[in-house]
Symmetry: C2
Subunit: 177 residues, 2 copies
């Protein structure tokens, strides 16, 4: 950030009164511009023993496999965001969705919120951000070609929890090495 989005003057990083954090503060109108973590809402779409993955048509991680997920938008709920991303990336509709993994990524200022749910039907196909959409059995998951650790960890939890038919919400943190 170089300029104030309200008045166009220069901004300077400084600590406002009673604030522990450096913020961008306008040199002229003195407004404080806060930058906060973003929420990525996603889905683990299930059909019988299989899960639906999408192969990415966009960067980063072009060509690798992912769960449908993307930035939550203003004006929607978490569950709506997860359903929207599933439709945008795989033209798929889910039923009975439940929050499943909550993953803090403090080094990139993101929180993933992934919902598991059943596919309503087999009408799925690649959306504009996907090259392919495909159902995978556990034994066929392309573990070495997954796009993000959040996807790997969500799938690991799912295949473990499925053995016990218990799906607690998993709240954890992933740090880069």
């Amino acid at each position: 950030m170089k300029y104030c989005s309200e008045c166009g003057a220069n901004v300077t990083q400084k600590k406002p009164e009673n604030d522990e954090h450096l913020r961008f503060v306008c040199d002229d109108c003195e407004i404080i511009h806060y930058h906060n973590p973003k929420v990525i809402a996603g889905a683990l779409p299930i059909w019988q023993d299989k899960v639906l993955l999408c192969r990415r048509a966009i960067n980063p991680r072009h060509g690798l496999w992912t769960l449908p997920a993307g930035f939550m938008e203003n004006g929607e709920t978490l569950a709506q965001a997860a359903a929207r991303e599933t439709y945008e990336e795989a033209t798929a509709v889910m039923e009975n969705i439940k929050l499943y993994t909550v993953i803090s990524l403090p080094q990139v200022n993101q929180v993933y919120m992934i919902y598991r749910g059943n596919l309503a039907n087999l009408d799925f196909s690649p959306g504009i951000e996907s090259l392919e959409t495909e159902l995978f059995d556990e034994k066929d998951i392309p573990w070495d070609e997954l796009a993000f650790k959040t996807v790997t960890e969500t799938l690991r939890h799912y295949f473990h929890d499925r053995k016990n038919n218990q799906f607690p919400i998993h709240d954890f943190c992933i740090l880069k090495k």
Copy 2:
């Protein structure tokens, strides 16, 4: 938003290619400025049969009672944010915290994530944003003087769940009338 924070030129609201949403786009450098929901992390601090509330010293809702909560900062996890807010507003330390309520507020572009946990000790006192901090039995909760519906609903769930000693995570949405 009126000016591009990268180059200082004017911005115009338009729909970028392959995007359903109006965004602020720079007239000069063409960068797209996204605005997304913010996460509010908070806590339900418990001591035996009581819960800790803070009376707000700041606006909005000055003078009303709340749970410690505030905007998640870049560089922290959800649990760290909840613990930090509890310390800032009530100089209190919690143990064994667990995610408890996840509340989408689509009309104000916020997601509340409230953790329940036990107070580590009785060393609590009003932080700079609080007028008072006090432990309340269920029968003494000032229901008509609570600052936010997210607080009311989290307390309602807690006193209900406590009867069964089962504390599932509650994921729901609150809409303004």
